[in-house]
Amino acid sequence: MKQFITYISAAVLFSAATSCQRDDVLIDIVQTQVTEPVMTDVFGFYLLNEGNMGSNKASIDYFDATTGIYNRNIYAARNPEVVMNLGDVGNNIMIYGNKMYAVINCSHKVEVLTPDSARRVAQIDIPNCRYALGHDGNLYVSSYVGMAQIDPTAPRGAVFKVDTASLTVTGSVEVGYQPEEMTIIGNRLYVANSGGYHVPDYDNTVSVIDLRTFTVADVMTIEQSANFHRMDRDSHGRLWLSSRGDYYGNINSDLLVIDPESKQVIKEMGIPVSDMWADGDMLYTISTEWSYVTGQNTVTFAKIDMAAMQVIDRNIIKDGTEKSITLPYCIAVDPVTKDFYVCDAKSYVVSGTIYCFNRDGILQWKQTTGQIPASIAFYGKTENIIKHYDNGNE
């Protein structure tokens, strides 16, 4: 019996020893040669992957155009000392000036990184932050919740102002409910309010902030639509605003062109938009619409001439690749080569895929990304691509 007990104990100890909880080692960068090197003023791009909420799986990929190598999951290896990695739900990444900013929504912070190596410079705590925009040495960050709330049970959103030299928050101003993207025309910052958490009473306003005083100068109410998300401007000083719709068919997802002076909708484009990217006056859009009738998502890709306010192409992918894209989540256009990138978030809970198409809409390469590829920032010779960012894009 003693022998038996000894044997069992030994077996237990053995199993305990061999099955020891593994030391958790940081996950290294995975490199894949996806294409031939191309030398232009754009060196490559960073892709921020959201990661599912609560999973802390936000990650950054980097495509190095100069080598044709796709680097997956670079943040952890470049910043091993950051506790719990990049964070939870990466919403927006952009480069402004000599720094890169990654807006990490559910980690309530903006991660400030070096644009050449994605090493941490600083962390700026901003609650529930969504999108960032740079202008005149300041970074403006939209947030779902402001600092002091009049009604904490229905908190209004805010725009935070960050001094990009000291990397500190220098002010904030309360806007509408659940503000999303912003754009700047002249001295005015326009913020798209969604009210996405006030179903069915979505917000249908655009807040206008005077940047000289950093106060709300005006509120534009758009009667025929609500639940705004994407925002940009064109060379004629017009606002381009997307609505997510209300999913019930009372308000359709749409793209609106607005004259900021008269505050009138000049045109309803009649095209659903879930993400868009302005390259000069050429706007690339993607959308996904769920139908309970068919039990399927309908996917749309389009190209719009913003100057003429005309949809010029509703089928920008020409080689049939669009059929394998199940849930396009993000679109971006290389400012130099005009190659465009479409990210597929698939089922949200698996690794995404990025597709690279040339300007003719033919697939060049594709690669597996992190979970929910959401936002792209091109990196290159600043003077040549700055135009793009200063144009008020993400």
Partner: protein, 678 residues
Amino acid sequence: MKHPKCGALVVALMLVTNVFAQTAADGGNGSGEEFLDSIMSIGEVEVVANKRPEIIRPQTLAGADLQRLNSHSVADALRHFSGVQLKDYGGIGGIKTVNIRSMGTNHVGVFYNGIQLGNAQNGQVDLGRYSLDNIEAISLYNGQRSRIFQSAKDFSSSSAIYIYTRRPHFTDGKDYQLSVQMRTGSFGLANPSVVWNQRLTDKISMSANAEYTYANGRYKFRYTRKQLNGDIAYDTTATRQNGDVEALRTELGLYGYLPRGKWNLNGYFYTSQRGIPGAIVNNVFRRGERQWDKSAFGQGAFEKQFSDLYSLKVSGKFAWDYSRYLRDDPKELYLNNHYYQKEAYLSVANLFNITDWWSASAAADLQWNTMDADLADFAYPTRWTQLAAIATAINYKRISLQASLLCTFIQESTRSRKLYTASPNKHELSPAVFLNYRPTGDDIFEIYGFFKKIFRMPTFNDLYYTEIGNANLEPEYTYQYDIGFSFSRPLGHKFFDFVSLKADAYYNTVKNKIIAYPTGKQFRWTMINLGRVRIAGLEVAGDVAAHVGKVGMKLRTQYTFQRARDYTDPGDTFYGDQIPYIPRHSLSVSYNASWLGWDFSYSFIYTGERYNEQENNRYNYEPPWYTHDMSLSKDFKIGAVQLRIAGELNNVLNQAYEVIHNYPMPGRNFRLTAKLTI
């Protein structure tokens, strides 16, 4: 599943600890408690062959064995069973649910004193809320409880956990029994409880029970990562916040005996408030979410054998549940939602003993569920369920066979402001067959198997949750095939008293699995019937009881192997991958030694590597975890007063681990218990 541990319990108790055996015998005679019936029947081998109600015995933890475990709740105790995966969000207040044989939490029926605990909202029962304080036995049945004299509901889930509270039994001619217990320990725990049993008449007794739990829920946890070169990347220790819990549970039971029958009436009330600690992510170590729960139910059962031919069992229940969820965190959007559920249930079961080897039964159940919530555009669903079950049992010489057929009819209605149509009416036929063959003609060696097809209804959340629900969902089906054997016998050896071994091999499929499907919408998901999972598993469990002089010893081990793979769509990147949170290997070992009122226990629980999402890649990898727990207790008898003092040390090696991704579990923690019984 046949469970030799019952046998182990009885034999070991009788041989090793006279006192406990006596208690069990008292319980068996006096209370007629269902699990004790089956335990006692094992000792009487001749009777068993024809009269045993369950042809595949469950896994059971009961009496002293149950009390010895370092377990606070029913959920903790279930870790010692084969085929069980516990989902534990950590701490005393954290949600704990179980998944049996990888078919999903919603397929587990939990029965409290014989009647199912319902949750039409999400179909899951938080087993962390059921403390072991007044629990006499927990049994786990794969397939269903394989007896035929039971309500139709007992046939209606893929696997079932039966929780039995103590029925009063009186010793030494006393008419009352009073026990007072106090527990304290880590996490700021204060946990007093009192049980008062009183004999009211010859045939009627009463049991009253109250338990209060408070814990601040704070514990240290640690995250470490290494760089690729082996250097420390970071090593951080923090305190779990917002995991406090305060709960009060009261129960009152009346138990009566009739000639060839019995009845009981039970009332249950539970109220709690707790913090929801939430996931630990970068830059977020504290969250501001809280939950309040109130739960009340009354239930009763009446059972009588009217003749040798005919027996009747009637049971019923009314339950009311309230839950409030508050998110009041300055960084998040404010949420304050209230949910109300009501359930009414009535069952009539009839048994016909046609011959001494053949019996048949018919049962009919009626259930009503409704739910209210102050959500925008809520559907306010109501569900009517009618269940009818017919079953037959044959116990002929070495063969026992049971076959049952369950018919379920479901109708739903909604009263919504717009756009919610009720889920269409449903009717389902669910067969099951259980077989047991005893080649040697006794209970020492048995070969058994079962087949069962059953479904689970989509929950109210699946069907109607604002923006996410899909009223057109079909039920989710499981098909189970199981074959196994058991060997158990008393040994009468110089050292060895008892040995048992059992093994099961099984194959399950889950069809029409209800999964969240992505849409382009802001809230992203809708529910659809898409998933398909195939599960192949192997379970082995062994028990040994032995003694050296006056030291009695027991060793229990169980090992589970599971391959649960997603076969939804060959185009998926995770096609053929192990489904989330199912380890291939899991194992537990528990050892117990007792000597003159002293009792020492040690247990080791191991869960192998898993993945926290569908893709089995390194980004989703969850390392194995295991814990070592120990306890020591001493029973004293001072005059008429029995005193028990116990100390427990859990996670002895203070290992950092997670059961659920980003929900750190407590490190080393302790608990002290003092219990006085008069």
